[in-house]
């Protein structure tokens, strides 16, 4: 469904040439939840922005349902890390969620329905009339997720969405994402630098090398589909997987330091 082939991104400017992403190839099947994890500063955001059509790759291509992505495709929705700067503070929660829908050819009734449904899914049905800045950080990110859900994307791209919220909120939001994925069957590509989060959330984890980035390893997470914070995290298999990913990432960092 989502095909990334030989993706390469080089930033050029002021005499400096930075190769952020060297050569990335991976696929995401329909209905999969894939986590991309890599050492800090390994070009994860660059990669995701290329996938989402927000950046033009220097080489290679991204295909969504066999069609080349050259600009944000209507079938994708993006959830940014900086929730506070991604929601429009001059619009109420409901308007924020509804705004992208206005670009689609939908009736007003249908838009309302989608907005209500999406906000209910993230547990914020009561917040329609509030301004984003009246909500806590975790709630704001929920609104951003609701906005993405209402858009009815085929693929949901999430760029370290929980990096800026506190640990407890983070656990709730992780469960929310897993729940939504199971309920709605959407395809999710989730970028994080948190190894535990990657293993806990993903059905598959793609471990990236340090920048210039390549795929270091792809790992199937054979934990049960039913996961919860209490039991999954003490599951011996969880510990094994996270240790494995951890070692891979440490090795990736060393590899970068050595070269």
């Amino acid at each position: 469904m989502l095909d990334v082939r030989g993706l390469k991104k080089v930033y050029e400017g002021s005499g400096r040439r930075v190769e952020a992403v060297r050569d990335l190839t991976f696929t995401v099947d329909a209905g999969e939840l894939v986590c991309l994890v890599g050492p800090s500063g390994c070009g994860k955001t660059t990669l995701l922005k290329c996938v989402g059509g927000l950046l033009t790759p220097s080489g290679g291509e991204v295909l969504l349902d066999g069609r080349k992505v050259s600009g944000p495709p209507p079938g994708m929705a993006f959830v940014f890390q900086e929730y506070g700067r991604s929601l429009f503070p001059w619009m109420r929660v409901g308007e924020n969620v509804e705004l992208p829908l206005k670009q689609k050819d939908l009736s007003k009734a249908r838009r309302r329905e989608l907005v209500r449904d999406a906000l209910e899914s993230v547990g914020l049905a009561d917040a329609v009339g509030a301004y984003p800045w009246q909500l806590s950080g975790g709630m704001q990110q929920r609104v951003a997720i609701a906005r993405a859900l209402a858009y009815e994307p085929r693929v949901l791209l999430m760029d370290e969405p929980f990096a800026a919220v506190d640990a407890q909120t983070r656990a709730d939001l992780e469960d929310l994402v897993r729940g939504l994925w199971r309920e709605r069957g959407i395809t999710i590509l989730f970028v994080t630098h948190d190894i535990d989060e990657a293993v806990y959330l993903g059905e598959r984890v793609i471990v990236l090398s340090a920048s210039p980035t390549v795929v270091r390893e792809q790992l199937k997470v054979d934990l049960p589909v039913e996961r919860d914070q209490l039991h999954t995290r003490v599951d011996p298999r969880f510990a094994e997987l996270r240790t494995h990913v951890y070692e891979q990432i440490q090795a990736a960092k060393k590899g970068a330091a050595a070269s």
Binding site: P72, F78, R85, F88, P89, W90, P100, Q103, W133, Q134
Partner: protein, 259 residues
């Protein structure tokens, strides 16, 4: 209730004090140019009859409204274009800085040459003077659109007019209003000055007429009317601003509470 009362007392206290000081200080004055406040206030109702309000105040206000509205529309439109494109900005900025530095009253004789001495001249003078703060503030506001918000809009296919209306202008609105506020005081000044040069009615004209006819208390009443007019316009402006920028004040207040 008590709070509201207290606020009223605070608002009225200083003006009341100043009027009292003026009243007492000028009470026994025999200076022709500095008549007692009592004399001025007694002259007020005789001078500012309904007919005079219609014949002099109304034309002035209409000219101000026309010039100000023109400046607002042109300033925001041009400012949005200049602020949106880096190249346009590079070309225009030096010229703008120069034109802004020219004191607007000096334009009156120049514009008189082109536009004659009628209402067109006065509206043009007001517009030409008012346009700069609006224009320059709009440029700054449009430039400063948050990159994350811009990317959010792009990823959801919010482009063109929808982007302008929902993102760019809303995000720049605090700056635009700062410009409009500056422009308002410049507008009042230019309204009076343009009428002092060449006119057959209007507030500026009337005040100069009184002065030339040695009707000094009447002249003072004209100045009071001008002050009151300015005050009234500023109250109206604040009311509008509070409605349009309610979100902004709320956002700032919430940012102050939790840095």
């Amino acid at each position: 209730m008590r709070r509201a009362l207290l606020r009223l007392v605070f608002t009225v206290a200083l003006p009341a004090l100043l009027v009292t000081v003026w009243w007492v200080a000028s009470a026994g004055s025999t200076d022709v140019y500095w008549p007692p406040l009592r004399t001025i206030l007694e002259a007020f109702p005789d001078v500012w009859t309904a007919e005079r309000l219609r014949g002099d105040v109304l034309p002035s206000v209409l000219r101000l409204a026309g010039g100000y509205a023109l400046a607002a529309v042109v300033g925001v439109a041009l400012g949005t274009v200049i602020g949106s494109y880096r190249r346009v900005r590079a070309v225009c900025e030096p010229v703008l800085e120069f034109l802004r530095a020219v004191p607007p009253p000096v334009l009156v004789p120049v514009i008189m040459l082109f536009a004659g001495i009628g209402d067109t001249m006065k509206v043009t003078v007001i517009a030409v003077g008012c346009v700069w703060p609006v224009l320059l503030n709009t440029v700054e506001g449009v430039r400063a659109v948050d990159p994350v918000m811009a990317e959010t809009a792009r990823s959801y296919g919010i482009t063109g007019v929808a982007r302008l209306r929902n993102l760019v202008l809303r995000s720049a609105s605090p700056q635009i209003f700062a410009g409009l506020r500056q422009a308002l005081s410049i507008g009042i000044i230019l309204m009076v000055i343009s009428e002092m040069f060449a006119a057959s009615n209007g507030l500026g004209f009337t005040i100069v007429q009184f002065q030339r006819g040695f009707a000094i208390p009447d002249m003072w009443t004209g100045i009071l009317v001008l002050g009151l007019l300015g005050f009234l316009l500023s109250v109206v402006f604040q009311w509008v601003e509070r409605r349009v920028l309610g979100w902004y004040h709320g956002l700032r207040a919430s940012a102050r509470r939790s840095p």
